[in-house]
């Protein structure tokens, strides 16, 4: 395992927190500093999506399109046709929620390097309720040919991911969360598109997390280890293309796995892992996420507990899973 330079405060109450969207805002501003081709478009949510950092630094390359998400991505597509690298941001419920077909036709079939930033994804949006808690974006974006799908685990990683997609010359989707969350990586922690990272080694079961859920997996692993259960935690920030080698090699070692995502389990991250595993190396798998239901209003922590997404719930699900499901060792 190469050096990951993770935060030394993982599991401590005083671990610094910051919203993932802030990392996006910083990364976008930096991408704009680095490359004059980078432009940014927003649909009346400039501060919410943290695009104001870019807007203030590069006002001549910032475009306000108003509350019009179909126009947001198609104007971005036209700008990409002129050699620009457009970042288009809104809440994920509206982009890609409302403008999926425009993304399919004018970004993906056209193969233009438009970067869709979907903020306020997941139930951690909190009080706004089900309409604004986007849970189907991973499924929507993962199904599109040419599209790269990334759900960073914290704000520092979001900054790196934003800089990376500014350079990848491909249609890309980056999933962002609203609420402040633990910063468990550091500026030195590696990030590459298409790479998953084993954050913690173990041999009884693999927890595969994406987005905010990776930190909950790390906390769950700590709880379980005190009980003598050895848990491997794999962080999968890039959902497409999936790092098949890392996922399969961990599951080959532990013989069973659990995926954890703040999204519908149908078509999402867990589905991507299940598709891979069932075709290439059938291994017992459980998917934690939203179980074919919508979110509701509440505090993020309450909602995580209610939907089984916090560390305690993940630990409980893991205990139950390993009691009922023997490790499967490949011949």
């Amino acid at each position: 395992m190469s050096e990951l330079y993770l935060s030394d405060k993982i599991g401590q109450d005083d671990i610094p927190t910051e919203p993932i969207r802030k990392g996006f805002g910083k990364g976008l501003k930096q991408a704009g500093d680095d490359d004059i081709r980078v432009v940014a478009l927003c649909a009346d949510l400039t501060e919410s999506t943290q695009m104001h950092l870019f807007r203030d630094a590069h006002p001549e390359r910032f475009v306000e399109v108003g509350v019009a998400e179909q126009n947001l991505v198609t104007v971005a597509s036209g700008m990409a046709a002129m050699g620009k690298i457009p970042f288009a941001s809104s809440y994920a419920a509206f982009s890609p929620g409302r403008n999926w077909e425009q993304i399919r036709t004018t970004v993906c079939i056209n193969d233009r390097p438009v970067k869709i930033a979907g903020s306020h994804a997941g139930v951690s949006v909190g009080p706004d309720g089900a309409t604004h808690q986007m849970l189907e974006d991973i499924a929507l974006m993962r199904a599109l040919p040419n599209m790269i799908v990334i759900a960073p685990g914290d704000s520092v990683e979001a900054e790196k991911a934003t800089l990376a997609i500014a350079k990848n010359d491909k249609p890309s989707y980056i999933r962002l969360a609203r609420e402040a969350s633990a910063v468990f990586t550091t500026p030195l922690t590696p990030f590459e598109i298409g790479t998953a990272y084993v954050l913690h080694e173990g041999h009884d079961v693999t927890l595969l997390g994406t987005g905010l859920m990776t930190y909950e997996c790390l906390l769950a692993a700590r709880q379980l280890e005190k009980e003598g259960i050895s848990v491997e935690v794999v962080h999968v920030p890039t959902i497409k293309p999936l790092d098949e080698r890392t996922v399969l090699s961990s599951l080959r070692k532990t013989g069973r796995g659990i995926t954890v995502e703040e999204a519908q389990i149908a078509g999402g991250f867990g589905s991507a892992v299940a598709e891979l595993v069932s075709e290439q190396m059938p291994t017992p798998l459980k998917r934690i996420g939203l179980q074919d239901r919508f979110g509701e209003s509440g505090k993020p922590a309450e909602l995580f507990a209610h939907f089984g997404l916090d560390a305690d719930s993940i630990a409980a699900s893991t205990r139950e899973f390993i009691q009922s499901t023997p490790q499967y060792h490949q011949k």
Partner: protein
């Protein structure tokens, strides 16, 4: 080559494009007839007079951009591009066939010279506005234009009006939209399916410069485009009134020909009508 044809030669070119359209659709056994025939004069005007472009160098950075937003009318785009020299005329007969660069709806990544993938309606104007925004505010390309060809039926789409607001707000004078106002869509006449009038007033109220022309009169179309290029503080729209199925009398004005190709009998008759200008002249090909 382009920009040098006389008005008579442009009329002949439009007629040739119409014959290509009939042959392509007959051969493909599927596709749309009425719209492409009605738009042939506009396309002859665009590719042989209005547009700055280079068929031998389709990616030339200084070219004007033409986006076909109503992608289902692409037989007229392909026929005109072939006649302008983008690819061999014989390739037109591969329309909608497996392995062809001439997909059922235009695809940018398949055929050089196609500016964008289209078919799903209402998406061309906003892409054109994005291009024009770059030309006007970021790269400063003062003498370059974005033409967006739209159907009237597709104006039902909300995306069109989002784009209209956007181009109006940013005074994108370098956008010139051309609406093929042929009054038909799949389910019937536009005013029965979803009324568009007062169309002129709608665009004006969004901050656009509006002209109405006879879209089957090539000189009128060329003049309107020149007028639009002289407007420097707002985007322009040309409402081009056309006859659907123009040039083939049994297709004209009939919405049922919107989405239907001619069979071989009908194609033969259509080609005879086009070659003889509906009996006014004799054709050596008869």
């Amino acid at each position: 080559m382009s920009g040098q044809l006389s008005l008579v030669q442009l009329d002949e070119m439009a007629n040739t494009i119409r014959q290509d359209i009939i042959r392509m659709l007959e051969h493909a056994e599927s596709g749309h007839s009425a719209g492409p025939l009605g738009m042939a004069d506009i396309f002859a005007a665009l590719y042989f007079s209005i547009l700055k472009h280079d068929p031998k160098n389709p990616d030339w950075d200084g070219r004007d951009r033409l986006l076909l937003s109503n992608g289902h009318t692409n037989p007229v785009l392909y026929a005109t591009m072939a006649r302008a020299g983008y690819f061999p005329v014989e390739e037109l007969m591969t329309l909608r066939r497996f392995g062809s660069r001439l997909q059922g709806h235009p695809e940018r990544t398949k055929l050089p010279g196609v500016e964008t993938t289209s078919g799903p309606l209402g998406e061309g104007l906003s892409q054109g506005a994005g291009m024009a925004y770059v030309m006007k505010y970021i790269d400063e390309r003062p003498n370059q234009w974005v033409y967006v060809m739209m159907g009237d039926g597709e104006l039902n789409e909300g995306n069109v009006w989002e784009a209209a607001m956007f181009a109006g707000k940013y005074k994108l004078h370098n956008v010139i939209a051309i609406i093929d106002r042929n009054n038909i869509q799949i389910d019937g006449s536009t005013e029965d399916v979803m009324p568009l009038e007062d169309l002129h007033g709608k665009w004006e109220s969004f901050g656009w410069h509006v002209q109405e022309v006879d879209g089957n009169n090539i000189e009128s179309v060329i003049d309107a485009a020149a007028m639009a290029r002289a407007v420097t503080n707002q985007p322009s729209v040309i409402i081009a009134h056309t006859i659907p199925g123009k040039g083939v009398d049994f297709m004209e004005y009939d919405y049922r020909w919107h989405g239907m190709p001619p069979n071989s009998e009908q194609a033969k008759e259509a080609l005879r009508k086009l070659r003889t200008l509906d009996g006014k002249i004799r054709s050596e090909h008869q």
